[in-house]
């Protein structure tokens, strides 16, 4: 079902947490609300669920405005970071709870519970108590409980944050698989850009209670709207260098990067360089010295101090033999850098 937020505003006391936010999620789409903690992404999610009251604006499920409808009558499924399973009930009772409060027949409940348990692959755990399950299994139960009532929207509030790294990857693709199989409209709240990029159709990047940019993950990575977006996406993260432009584009230390072109005459600039666009044999060589090296197995991550004008990161295939303290003459691929004004706007 299509979900639309129009001018959604949320205040806590005198502080406006979310100011006139607009968001459209297409039917069957999975969108990520991505941002640092305190940016309002969970507040938005809770408002969609009806757990927070909406101060202004409309929330449309299809064509129905639910902004002032109680959470019980909204038909959303929600999965919490700590799973929020009911500890005194078995897995089957947990999953059946939404059906039970709707007064469904036992036979019908049993059939639906088995069906959904099969979908999330916990069919053999139905008689266990939540405390007897691993984190990943608990998350599957929470997912089943959210889905069993066929909700209009599935809301996921940092569902993977409590899992260890390996399980997180597994559950990540599981959530996506289940979402695609059921064709449900889903919203994932997360502060982890990898999570958002890997399983969502689109990302809405939030900051200070507003959406900065909405785009498909690849588009947002290649074409960030401003410095904030560029710095949020990418792992290892992008590096920034101060620069200026007369006839030539120069780094703060004076090194030239070639003709300034359309940037000519701007005397304060910030260049954003992703690690994959800096390295040996790329663009104009710059003198620098390796100050940090992280071995990642397949790749090595370097941090290079350029003579007097800041640090860049480079990611190279392992086995280059370059060590900390080595002087290097690597270059920047000028076709892929981002240019920002000092206040962070993309130029």
């Amino acid at each position: 079902m299509r979900l639309v937020l129009e001018g959604f505003t949320k205040r806590f006391g005198d502080t406006t947490v979310i100011d006139a936010l607009d968001l459209t999620v297409a039917d069957g789409e999975m969108i990520a609300l991505l941002g640092p903690s305190g940016c309002g992404k969970s507040t938005t999610l809770f408002a969609i669920a009806g757990l927070h009251q909406v101060d202004e604006g409309r929330i449309l499920f299809g064509n129905r405005d639910v902004a002032h409808v109680s959470p019980q009558e909204r038909n959303v499924g929600i999965v919490f970071q700590n799973y929020a399973l009911y500890p005194h009930m078995t897995v089957a009772q947990n999953i059946a709870f939404p059906l039970r409060v709707r007064g469904e027949r036992v036979v019908e409940m049993d059939r639906k519970v088995r069906e959904i348990a099969g979908l999330v692959q916990i069919g053999e755990l139905l008689e266990r108590k939540p405390a007897q399950l691993s984190g990943g299994q608990q998350q599957r139960v929470a997912l089943a409980r959210a889905l069993v009532r066929k909700p209009d929207v599935l809301l996921l509030d940092e569902p993977l944050a409590n899992l260890d790294a390996k399980l997180r990857m597994e559950m990540r693709s599981e959530i996506r698989r289940v979402q695609l199989e059921t064709g449900i409209t889903a919203i994932l709240v997360t502060h982890d850009q990898v999570e958002a990029m890997s399983i969502c159709d689109r990302i809405a990047l939030m900051k200070d209670g507003g959406i900065v940019q909405i785009a498909e993950p690849a588009e947002m990575y290649i074409n960030p709207m401003d410095r904030y977006v560029a710095s949020f996406l990418g792992n290892p993260p992008i590096a920034f260098l101060d620069a200026m432009a007369d006839e030539e584009l120069r780094l703060a230390g004076g090194a030239s990067l070639g003709a300034a072109g359309r940037l000519q005459g701007l005397d304060r600039l910030v260049l954003g360089v992703r690690p994959e666009h800096y390295g040996p044999g790329k663009g104009v060589p710059l003198e620098g010295v390796v100050v940090m090296l992280e071995t990642h197995g397949r790749e090595d991550l370097f941090e290079v101090e350029l003579a007097g004008c800041g640090r860049l990161r480079a990611i190279l295939p392992a086995g280059s033999g370059t060590r900390i303290g080595t002087n290097v003459n690597w270059g920047i691929d000028m076709d892929h850098i981002f240019v920002f004004s000092p206040d962070g706007r993309r130029l």
């Binding site: 809770f46 669920a49 009806g50 757990l51 959470p71 019980q72 909204r74 959303v76 499924g77 929600i78 919490f80 970071q81 700590n82 929020a84 009911y86 500890p87 005194h88 709870f97 939404p98 409060v101 709707r102 409980r145 009532r149």
Partner: protein, 279 residues
């Protein structure tokens, strides 16, 4: 092995001190029991004969027209059970409201709870006496129960609030989005989480009611609503009739239920000190 033995040796002085300190207590408890079934000549500590005379209160009233021990025990049981039930049921709902509901006056009630919790409530007894008198509840068990409940509630609510506070909000949020109303959420999802606190509070307030002395003494001094504590005090208050062996026998009768309850429920009672945190 050597190491462990060394351990024991180092503990001996400590054990010796503890034994020395607690010996008088043990001796007193032993004599408490021995004295109730023996006769001892004045000035001696060695008993010279067995008797069941001190337990005569079990079969009939001590003085003509006085209450039997069984009616007193019944009164005490009613008093303690009613206190426990009312305290627990009011605490259960009041604490939920204070813990979770954003209601007007919440701050006032919370503050009042803490003040009353620390307040020496006995100082209110004159005012309470006047109120009961005015309401016609003076000298009735109902009146004493009401007062006892009022005095116990701050503690009960505070304890239960601690248990409610430890239930994750997300469980209620999940319940509400699952389609259950707040009352159903409380009944089916939250209440089972605070069940250990409920059990502990029930037992605790029962025991507190069982051992209450001042309130029945002051607010219900007549024979009819008398409880075991006031009766026991009466036995030695009467100086023509100060029978210490009888006093000891009645004390044992009075203390036995408490001991039994502690033995059965000690694990549940410990919950109350954990404040609802899960181990």
């Amino acid at each position: 092995m050597q190491k462990y033995r060394g351990h024991h040796v180092r503990h001996w002085p400590l054990i010796a001190v503890l034994v020395a300190l607690s010996a008088p207590l043990v001796v007193m408890y032993v004599y408490q029991i021995i004295d109730t079934v023996t006769t001892t000549p004045a000035g001696s500590i060695i008993p010279d004969g067995l008797t069941l005379h001190h337990w005569r209160f079990l079969t009939g009233p001590l003085s003509d027209g006085g209450p039997t021990i069984w009616s007193l025990a019944g009164n005490t049981l009613v008093f303690a059970s009613c206190t426990a039930l009312v305290v627990t049921s009011v605490s259960l709902t009041a604490a939920y409201a204070l813990s979770r509901l954003n209601m007007p006056g919440r701050g006032f009630f919370l503050g009042g709870l803490i003040v009353l919790h620390a307040f020496p409530t006995v100082t209110l007894i004159v005012a309470v006496f006047l109120i009961l008198q005015y309401m016609g509840l003076y000298d009735t068990l109902t009146g004493v129960i009401l007062v006892k409940v009022a005095f116990e509630l701050p503690f009960g609510i505070w304890i239960m609030k601690g248990f409610y506070d430890s239930v994750p909000w997300e469980i209620e949020m999940a319940g509400v989005t699952d389609g259950a109303d707040r009352f159903t959420v409380w009944r089916l999802l939250v209440l089972p989480q605070v069940q250990p606190g409920l059990a502990a509070l029930l037992i605790f307030s029962f025991l507190s009611g069982w051992s209450e002395f001042i309130l029945p003494l002051v607010l219900a001094p007549a024979n009819a609503p008398q409880v075991l504590a006031t009766y026991l005090a009466g036995i030695i208050a009467d100086d023509r009739f100060a029978d210490f062996s009888l006093f000891k026998a009645v004390s044992i009768f009075y203390a036995l239920p408490v001991l039994v309850i502690y033995l059965i429920f000690q694990k549940k009672l410990m919950n109350i000190y954990g404040g609802g945190t899960k181990g």
